[in-house]
Each structure stands twice: as structure tokens, then as C-alpha cells.
């Protein structure tokens, strides 16, 4: 590992990263130059994706360049873009005006805790934009300039925005502690929209947006490729359980459309959770369908712009209408549920062609989704368990001590806290992490909002410190060896965070554990779990 590169975990040592220097630099933040180094920024979006999406200023460029090749009228674009958003979003205007810089948010950000960089304090992240707002839109800023905390927009400011607004995972933890509820996620989202106007966006976001537009999923898997994936899953499921799955795809006349983040098709350990859904639905005899067209609920559009989010999200209702389903069920995903809970109905509703979700097994009517007609699978499964519709053999998850990572968006943009805990308690040996790191105070995995790419490894590990350390704590204290998360980004990025901060803890989705414990009609004696590993660990 001596030759590891900045995008590899072996390049970093926990002993070094944990020595965080919180002393601010000598120079004021406005005068402190930007230090862009490999490992701490994300590669820019490729021309072809920006062109395909019809967005601004496609070109080859690198954040390490001196000249970022901005369009000639870049200043007007930003100024007008900011004005437009101030008129469209009360949130932005209020958040620009009312911050008192009390500092309560400062050490709530995982990136500040892990890096000590003062511009990762949520208050200062917002000031990066606020200073320009003051300069362009407030009397005091126009008259007094720097004395009033205003600064003119320069190309250096754009660079700073690019760096720090892609060092925010839109997790909203700071917003819980802010006395005015100032939401840095909102500020970051709108700042990224401004950056889009001059063509400064990241490939890790824009490529998935482009891919999802065409094929419905992140990796541009074409429909027949998705069928192959499903067949692989079916093979593995049969090997583990003896059950032969019938996987309905694009089926008209199904009662329920099931939407999950496409990460669940693509990478372990999400794939095991995907098999988990399939087994559960099989056992229930659910009349449901997958869709290849709307094969991603994950929606990286949320990390690009409100327009991108809306356009990708629109596929879900369109597909539900085309297939003639009654209602929609959503899988384990984090920001997908931010979109579904807080944006979908507003952006693409009303879903008046659907029915209020009703569990065909228990008869429970989900009044909490009366308007969107879409429920979370954890609501669905918790309801099944409450009504004793599922039988579990917990011993099949023997050898696992499981803790639970509340994903940012389900926790702070929805509040689905109890449901997953009820499910976990029913299927495995469950242990909470410390209270300042769970529920509404949960810490981000460090890779949300389009930051979970390897070239950003240093920041991911730094940002992952609070979560990783909480996992390490329960590992040392209680012997926890498995971290459950109901979010595809978590399942992808927490593996790395755990490898670094809490070695030997592995990550799982909840429905993987559910399906392992679930007693299924016609199954064979289970000797291996869905990972095809011997049940109970290798020692037994």
C-alpha cells in the first residue's frame, strides 16, 4: 500500500486524520486562499453529459487549472441567477438575511469535525454565498463593502463555491441545531444551481443524471441487462433458499409498482437487499412489478438542480400511470425519500389516478401517504410484523450484532425513525449507537449529495469520522460487527468509512437481514445467507 494514491484508502492513516487542527488560520476567511488538492475535490462533469442534458458551458476543464474557462458573461449569469432564486425561494431570502452567526452549527457538520477547515462550518459555508448576496442585493453591503461582510463576485469566489458546495452532503444536521432552522442543504442546492449556470458541476452527479434520463438507472444498464441482473439475483436466491423466484417486470395490471435506488442492482451489499425485497414479495404473493423504465428512485437530480430532480422524478408517476398500478412502494434509500416525501407530489402530482396505499396482506390503509400514494417499504414491513404476518427465525442472523445508521434524509426530511428499529428488533440482535449520533442527530456517511466518489477520498474519510467513530464505539463496547442502513449511498460509502474507522464492521441493508430470517414457504434448510456465506459465521 506504500504506493497508494490520494483516491485510495491506503493513502491515509487514521492516526493522521484524527489529528484535526481546529485553530482557524491567521488570515480572515475572505482573504484565505483556496487549497484544492487531490483527494479533496470531485472531477468536473464530462462535456457529453452536460451537452446531452442541454445545460450550460460544456467543456473539458479541471479544478486544478488556473483558468476555469467560464463563459464571458459569467458574472451576469450568477447575479441574475441569484436574483431569480431570491424571488422564487423564500427560504433563500430568509436564510440570507437572518443568520446571527451564533456558531451553534459550527461543530455539527461532519466535514468540520473531521477537517477543522473553518469554511466547513455551516455558517461560513453559507457566508460564502451570503457575502456576495450582501454585495449585490443589500444597501449596507453596497455602501460599506467588506466592512459589512460583503465581497464582490470574482472567479476566485466561483472556485471557492465549487470546492465547498461540493463539500456539503446536504445532510441537514446543522439545520436541527440552528435557532432559525437555517438549512445549509437548501443553500447548497441553490448554490449548485448557480454553479450550473456557468458550467461548474461534477461528473459524479451529472453522469448519473444523464444515465438515469436515458435508461432509468445510474450505470446506463439497458433493459435486457437489467433482466440479466435479476436472473443473477434469482440464481443466488435459489442457491441460498431453494426458492424459485418469479420476477415481474414492466407488468401491466400489477397492483403495486416497486421503485428502489438503482444502486441496489449494481453493487454489493445493496444487491443482497434487493434479493431481500424479492424474497419478501414472493412470500407475500404480492401482485407487484419492477420497472426497467423507472428503474431508479435514487434521483441524483436532487444534487444537481430542482429541474433535474423534477425531470427524473416524473418517470415514477408516469410509469405508475402507464402500468395501471394502484399505488407505489419505495425501497430503502435516503435522498430518494427526501424527494418522494418533500418534492414528488408538488413537482409531479397530483397522483389522482392512483389509490391510497392499502396493504393487501394486513388491510392497513396508509393515510400518511393519502396524497402521494407512495409508501416506504419500512412502513410496509413494520406493519406486516406488527400484524404477525411474517415468521422469522432470528438464529439465521446469528453471528451478527447489528447497529443502525439513520440516513440523513429519512431522519431529517421525513422522520422514519421507529419503523426500521421495529423491523431490526424482529429479525436480529440490535444495538443502538450513542444518542448524539442517531435519529435526528444522525451523522452523514460523508458521501451523500454526490460526494461519494473515490477521487474525493480524503474528504469522505474525514467527513466519515463522526459516523465511523460511533460505529467503532459500539464495536469495541458491544461487539457490533454489522452496520445496517436503509440508503443506497450509505451501503456504498459506509463500507469504506468502516474499513477505515471501524475495521471489520460490514454494511448491510435491512431487507437483507429480513429475508435471511424470514421463514418462506417451500424453502430448503438454509445453510448459507444471501451472501452465500455460512450462517452463524465461519467459526460455527
Amino acid at each position: 500500500m506504500a504506493d497508494a494514491k490520494p483516491d485510495e484508502i491506503g493513502y491515509y492513516k487514521a492516526d493522521d486524520l484524527v489529528k484535526v487542527d481546529y485553530a482557524p488560520p491567521e488570515s480572515e476567511w475572505i482573504d484565505t486562499p483556496l487549497d484544492i488538492r487531490p483527494g479533496s475535490f470531485i472531477y468536473p462533469a464530462k462535456e457529453k453529459h452536460i451537452e446531452f442534458l442541454g445545460m450550460d458551458n460544456p467543456r473539458p476543464w479541471s479544478p486544478l487549472d488556473d483558468d476555469w474557462d467560464l463563459p464571458d458573461d459569467w458574472k451576469e449569469r450568477i447575479h441574475n441567477g441569484l436574483k431569480e432564486r431570491l424571488d422564487k425561494y423564500r427560504s433563500l431570502k430568509v436564510f440570507m438575511d437572518i443568520c446571527v452567526r451564533c456558531g451553534a452549527c459550527a461543530d455539527k457538520c461532519h466535514f468540520f469535525i473531521g477537517s477543522g477547515d473553518p469554511k466547513n462550518m455551516p455558517v461560513l459555508r453559507a457566508e460564502l454565498l451570503r457575502s456576495v448576496y450582501r454585495n449585490d442585493f443589500t444597501t449596507a453591503g453596497k455602501l460599506l463593502g467588506k466592512m459589512a461582510g460583503a465581497r464582490p463576485l470574482t472567479k476566485e469566489v466561483i472556485k471557492e463555491w465549487y470546492y465547498y458546495f461540493y463539500q456539503c452532503t446536504e445532510c441537514r444536521r446543522c439545520s436541527v441545531f440552528c435557532p432559525y432552522g437555517i438549512d445549509t442543504a437548501e443553500i447548497t442546492m441553490l448554490a449548485r444551481e448557480l454553479l450550473n449556470l456557468v458550467g461548474c458541476n461534477v461528473n459524479w452527479v451529472m453522469e448519473p443524471v444523464a444515465n438515469c434520463t436515458v435508461t432509468g438507472n445510474h450505470l446506463r444498464i439497458q433493459p435486457h441487462g437489467l433482466m440479466d441482473t435479476f436472473e443473477f439475483f434469482a440464481d443466488d436466491v435459489e442457491e441460498a433458499t431453494g426458492i424459485q423466484l418469479d420476477i415481474p417486470v414492466n407488468k401491466k395490471g400489477a397492483d403495486i409498482l416497486f421503485i428502489t435506488p438503482s444502486g441496489d442492482f449494481l453493487a454489493d451489499p445493496g444487491t443482497f437487499t434487493c434479493m431481500g425485497y424479492m424474497l419478501l414479495f414472493h412470500q407475500l404473493g404480492l401482485n407487484y412489478t419492477w420497472s426497467t423504465y423507472a428503474s431508479d428512485g435514487g434521483n441524483f437530480g436532487l444534487f444537481a438542480s430542482h429541474d433535474n430532480m423534477r425531470d427524473l422524478n416524473a418517470k415514477i408517476y408516469a410509469e405508475a400511470k402507464r402500468l395501471g398500478v394502484k399505488w407505489i412502494l419505495g425501497g430503502e434509500c435516503g435522498h430518494m425519500w427526501r424527494v418522494l416525501n418533500q418534492y414528488m407530489d408538488t413537482m409531479n402530482g397530483p397522483a389522482d389516478f392512483l389509490e391510497v396505499p392499502k396493504s393487501p396482506i394486513t388491510g392497513t390503509v396508509f393515510e400518511n401517504a393519502r396524497s402521494t400514494k407512495m409508501i416506504h417499504i419500512m412502513e410496509f414491513t413494520a406493519d406486516l410484523i406488527k400484524h404477525n404476518k411474517l415468521k422469522f427465525d432470528k438464529s439465521r442472523n446469528k453471528g451478527l450484532k447489528v447497529t443502525f445508521h439513520d440516513s440523513c434524509n429519512p431522519a431529517r426530511a421525513m422522520g422514519i425513525l421507529e419503523e426500521p428499529r421495529r423491523v431490526l428488533n424482529a429479525v436480529c440482535d440490535f444495538q443502538e449507537m450513542p444518542e448524539n449520533t442517531i435519529r435526528e442527530q444522525t451523522f452523514c456517511c460523508g458521501g451523500g449529495a454526490g460526494l461519494g466518489t473515490d477521487e474525493n477520498m480524503e474528504m469522505r474519510l474525514r467527513g466519515g469520522l463522526p459516523r465511523g467513530n460511533a460505529v467503532h464505539y459500539v464495536q469495541q463496547r458491544y461487539g457490533v460487527n454489522r452496520l445496517a442502513a436503509m440508503c443506497a449511498i450509505d451501503r456504498a460509502t459506509l463500507e469504506t468509512v468502516c474499513e477505515f474507522w471501524a475495521p471489520e464492521v460490514k454494511v448491510t441493508g435491512i431487507h437483507e437481514l429480513v429475508a435471511n430470517a424470514l421463514i418462506i414457504k417451500g424453502e430448503k434448510k438454509r445453510e448459507v445467507n444471501l451472501r452465500l456465506e455460512p450462517i452463524g459465521g465461519e467459526e460455527d
Binding site: 422564487k88 425561494y89 451553534a104 408538488t346 400518511n368 419503523e419 448524539n436 467503532h472 461487539g479
Partner: protein, 354 residues
């Protein structure tokens, strides 16, 4: 540097007032014109700000949820930290505005190294056990910190009660509640005239808020001129007010003659000149009123407009409408099937065409 500037500005303002109000000729300005201007600017400015915020719509329903959602009947929702109805939102806002609920959650974090000891285990516990010999490693520890909350709350309430107490000068007869507040405020009966607790609390709290800005490195780093200025200004107002009451022994009857005449819109200066310290106090208050609508102090109104706090988390129950919404640019299923139809057919996926 920002702090020094702010201090100099406030000292300068006070100095100008002290010197110029020595001349009786200036009293009509300090005692009558400026207070009217200040009140008009304050009210007009705040209305302007509020109308300005209200003019921008709330396109999306984005509450920050801080507790369990309302979902299944048998799971108890957190009615006030994650409200789904108007009542819940009203309580949430009340807790926020009256008790600084969010700030009460404040924690501080320490990153260090240490060893996490295995938890004691009950006999017969057959679940997984932690490794017997824990290794030292990084430890991130959180602890509750309430000082900012306490000082903030003390400061705001002291300010409110002082403001209410001052209604004595603008009403005749003085309303009962003002007498009551004053009675409570002076119940310690220290000194003559009685020291008001709120005055002392205000000075202490503002001093704390100032010191933490000056001495906590992170807070100092984010502090701007406009963060120090109101603190020094309010400190100046408090000191001049206390001086006026306890050291100058101002002629309260004469003061009231003036203030009451202002309230009745028939302003007259008292025959005998009021002390310059009175005019200084009034001047600084006027500066605060005028400064208020153009500064961060508008959080007084803004807190009510924060969409992460004042909206119910019910966007799956009731459709929230965005007034400027545009329809999605959908990559339609038809386009999708046109591109992949052949492959879908070969893979056995049903098509619309067939």
C-alpha cells in the same frame, strides 16, 4: 479588528450625543425629532422586510424533521418536533420562539484518542461479545452545552421585560401589568432606587455573548462588524440607562412629561433641561431602532418565516402547490421503448407496441 471598529463606532455615537446634547438647542432633535424618525424607520423597515420575504413564495415543503413521523397508528409520532398539523406547527414555533428549542439541543464535540472499554455483560448472555482487549484509537465525544442557550434566552427576556417596563413612560395611567413587572423586577430591593434584575441580567448576558465572540476562536473567526456592533450598542444602552437611574438621578417626572407628550403626538420639551445622559440613552436607543430593520436583528421577524420550522411535515398527506411550477421535461416511456424496444422484446419484457 471588527470588534474594535464596532466599539469605536458605538463610543463615537455616544460621545457625539453626550457632547451635543449639552446644548439645549439640540434637545428638540434628540428628544422629539429623532425618536419619531426612529420609530417610523423601525416600523416601516420591518414591514418592508416582512413584505419582502412574503413576496417570495414557498415552492416546496421542506421542514427539518426532528422526531418520529406520523405513519402507522401504533407508532407514537413526535407531534411537535415533527408536526403534521397546524396545532403541532404552532407549538413547534412557540417552543422555538419562546424557549429557543433548537439552541437547547446544542452540543460540543471533542476529538481525541482513548480506549473504549467493553460493556459489562450479564451472565448467560450468549450474544456476540466485544474483543477482550480493546485497542486505543480515535474517540469523538459529544457533550451538552447550554451556556449559549442560557445567555441567549436571558438576554432576550431581559430585553423584553425592560422594554415592557419602559411603557411606564408612555402611558398614563400606567397599566397594571407594567407595575407588576416592575415589582417583580425589583423584588430583591437592593439599592436605592431599587436595582432592576433585568438590567443586571441584560448586561451580564450581553457581556457573555461578547466575550464568547472575542475569545472562542471559531466564533471570533466568523464574527463580522455587524455582529459586534449591536452587542456594543445594547451594552451602551444598558450602561447609559443604569447610569441614568442610579447615578444621575434624572428627574423622572420631567422625563415622563416628555415621553408622554411624544406618545400623545403633542410633543413638548420640559421647561427645565433634561440631563445629557438621558439624551444619550435615547439617542442610542434610536440608533438601535433605525439600525434594526437593516441588520441581522431582523431575525426577530425572520424566525417566523423559516420554512424548515413553520411548515408541517405532511407533504405525503396534502399536496403542496408550487405557484411557479413548470411541468417536467419527461424522457417518456415511448422514447425509451423506441430506443430499446428490440432488446426488450428479445429479453422477454412486455412492450406497449404489442
Amino acid at each position: 479588528m471588527n470588534a474594535v471598529f464596532a466599539l469605536l463606532i458605538v463610543v463615537g455615537l455616544a460621545f457625539v450625543a453626550m457632547v451635543s446634547s449639552q446644548h439645549a438647542g439640540s434637545h428638540a432633535f434628540f428628544g422629539i425629532a429623532l425618536p419619531y424618525v426612529a420609530v417610523v424607520v423601525f416600523i416601516g423597515g420591518m414591514i418592508y422586510r416582512i413584505v419582502d420575504w412574503a413576496r417570495s413564495p414557498v415552492p416546496f415543503r421542506i421542514p427539518t424533521t426532528c422526531g418520529q413521523q406520523k405513519s402507522l397508528d401504533w407508532i407514537k409520532p413526535s407531534r411537535f418536533d415533527n408536526p403534521t398539523d397546524t396545532f403541532g406547527v404552532v407549538v413547534r414555533m412557540a417552543l422555538e420562539v419562546l424557549f429557543f428549542r433548537s439552541l437547547f439541543r446544542n452540543t460540543s464535540v471533542v476529538v481525541g484518542e482513548g480506549t473504549v472499554k467493553p460493556a459489562p455483560r450479564e451472565e448467560g448472555d450468549e450474544s456476540i461479545a466485544p474483543a477482550p482487549d480493546p485497542m486505543p484509537g480515535p474517540v469523538v465525544a459529544y457533550s451538552a452545552t447550554k451556556w449559549l442557550w442560557l445567555a441567549g434566552l436571558a438576554f432576550h427576556y431581559a430585553f423584553l421585560f425592560i422594554l415592557l417596563r419602559h411603557l411606564r413612560f408612555f402611558t398614563e395611567p400606567v397599566p397594571m401589568f407594567v407595575d407588576l413587572i416592575e415589582g417583580l423586577d425589583g423584588f430583591m430591593e437592593i439599592g436605592l432606587p431599587t436595582l432592576f434584575l433585568t438590567g443586571a441580567v441584560l448586561l451580564l448576558a450581553v457581556t457573555y455573548l461578547l466575550l464568547r465572540r472575542l475569545f472562542l476562536p471559531e466564533v471570533r473567526y466568523i464574527s463580522l462588524l455587524q455582529d459586534y456592533f449591536p452587542l456594543f450598542l445594547i451594552l451602551g444602552i444598558g450602561i447609559s440607562g443604569i447610569t441614568l437611574r442610579h447615578f444621575v438621578g434624572a428627574d423622572m417626572a420631567a422625563v415622563k412629561e416628555l415621553t408622554l407628550s411624544l406618545a400623545r403626538f403633542q410633543p413638548v420639551l420640559p421647561e427645565e433641561s433634561l440631563h445629557f445622559m438621558f439624551y444619550t440613552h435615547v439617542f442610542l436607543v434610536c440608533v438601535l431602532f433605525i439600525y434594526f430593520p437593516f441588520s441581522k436583528l431582523v431575525h426577530l421577524g425572520g424566525v417566523f418565516f423559516s420554512p424548515t420550522r413553520n411548515l408541517a411535515n405532511n407533504s405525503r398527506i396534502v399536496r403542496h402547490v408550487n405557484p411557479w411550477a413548470k411541468p417536467a421535461k419527461l424522457h417518456s416511456y415511448k422514447e425509451y421503448e423506441a430506443e430499446f424496444g428490440e432488446k426488450m422484446k428479445a429479453a422477454g419484457i412486455p412492450l406497449d407496441k404489442d
